[in-house]
Amino acid sequence: MPPFDASLIPEPQDEGPETVWELTRRIQATLEDGFPQVWVVGEISNYKRHTSGHVFFTLKDERASLRCIIWKSTAERLRHEIRDGLEVEAKGRLSVFEKAGNYQLYVSSVKPRGVGALEVAFRRLKEKLEKEGLFDPARKRALPRFPRRVGIVTSPTGAAVRDIIHVLARRWPAVEIVLAPALVQGPGAAAEIVRGIRWLNRLRSIDVIIIGRGGGSLEDLWPFNEESVARAVYASDVPVVSAVGHETDFSISDFVADVRAPTPSAAAEIVVPDAREVLAALRAQDRRMARHVQHRLERLGDRLTLAARSRFFVHPEELALARAQELEDLAGRLRAAARESAAERRLRLERAAAHLAEHAPRIRWQAAQGAIRMALYRLRAAGRTLLVHHWRARVDGFAQRLADLDPDRVLGRGYSRTVLERTGATLTRAADARPGDTLRTHLAEGALASRVEEAGKQRMSNVEPVFVPSGLRRATQGTAKDEAKNAKAQRRKDAAGPPQRTLFE
């Protein structure tokens, strides 16, 4: 028994005995002053967690025991699980529970006896491997974006493997999963984890590996702090994701791995993309492509419509007319030039002008045909859409109409065209011709040269005037007999006339 120090006792205020309360308070003061910080080792017994959240137990050794209490808030933050029979180290302060008349240790921290040693080992290994460069960020590899086969090293039973598989299947259903089963705590676990990593590497078909387990004490998680596991992770050709315990647990494997995940489920989320997001992105790409092509087609359609609206598609005959206009201007200028020069040159020029004028319809026609061909070519070049068929049909229609306008066609039906050689102009009025004028008559095939005998204002007969009757009486209605006579007379005339070469070849 230590000597009693009387100076510690507060002076009593008055004579007589003190109350139990007063005595207890003095004991309390003594205890609190004398034992402000306590560090004690002992075995846990009578462990109880109250509904209030506070924890009660007794620390004991062979000869003495000490009541302990952990407040709810401290108990929640305990990093290690404690239970009856466990040898632990506890820190805290002593005080008196007045009501019961006993003293207690108010525990500020408690941990299993062996843990201290483990923590030291952890720190030592971490420093050693870090120095060797196993944690080097530069060597960490990027994970594949779309892994086809995911390998898992974990226990085949328990929540971790279930959670990983569940999350993988939800996010990327097409993924293949290969489990390399391993113990994840206790003796032999490290060796099985190492083996699992090596097996998955041997397969050569695995794109990424997840190693891990659910939460537990430092001892439970210890296999993932073993040097052999760290080296196996480092040596793995396949990228490794380490997912050990809870978010606040850090293992050596976490530092060596290419990626650390706070939990096994989180590892599954890191390793595969979300199919829904990828699908949405694909849909967006699809829309962009379709929108673009649609836009292109619309613009081409607009160009086509614009081109089709041009005057020469709507009224192709105008093109021919425009050309004819130019030709006639040209012919006129030539004629004018011819008048001013020497007679022979004039004649030549006149002939040239006549030639042009005679052929103007054909040139008109050819120009128009050329325009049609150009139009068709431009149509083809502008693109293949339904519009093309429509316009082609329309243009074909115009082509047909133009064909009908072809002077040669008209001639084929029996009409002829007569040109007054003197002027070079096509004759539509008999009055324009004078007796003695040379006429050139163009038929569907060949041409005739003839001389005017008589020219009158009215038509000579009801039938189309193919020739001018030579000196015969005017017939208001042609009889067959007269026609035959006229024909005969004409033939005689032709035979008598000088042979004429047709200018129409």
């Binding site: 259903p173 293949e176 292109r296």
Partner: protein
Amino acid sequence: MAKKKAMKEEGVSFEARLGRIEEIVERLESGEAGLDESLRLYAEGAELIKACRATLAEAEKRISKLSETAGGDLKEEPFEPEDEEEK
């Protein structure tokens, strides 16, 4: 042509297909492709998107467990995780 055809086959990775789709969209949007080329590219892009969608739609789970045979070879067997029995 051979390259494009191969893109639709199984062996080509999902990532490669996505990359090609990206290329196609960029080419189309650049406006440099003529109408014929644009239509061809669009058709190719649509096929690739279809193939990617098919991959994403696969629902069949393929889970296997590894073990080693007596001869030292690795073997895969179908695996089903246990249901939650105790919590």
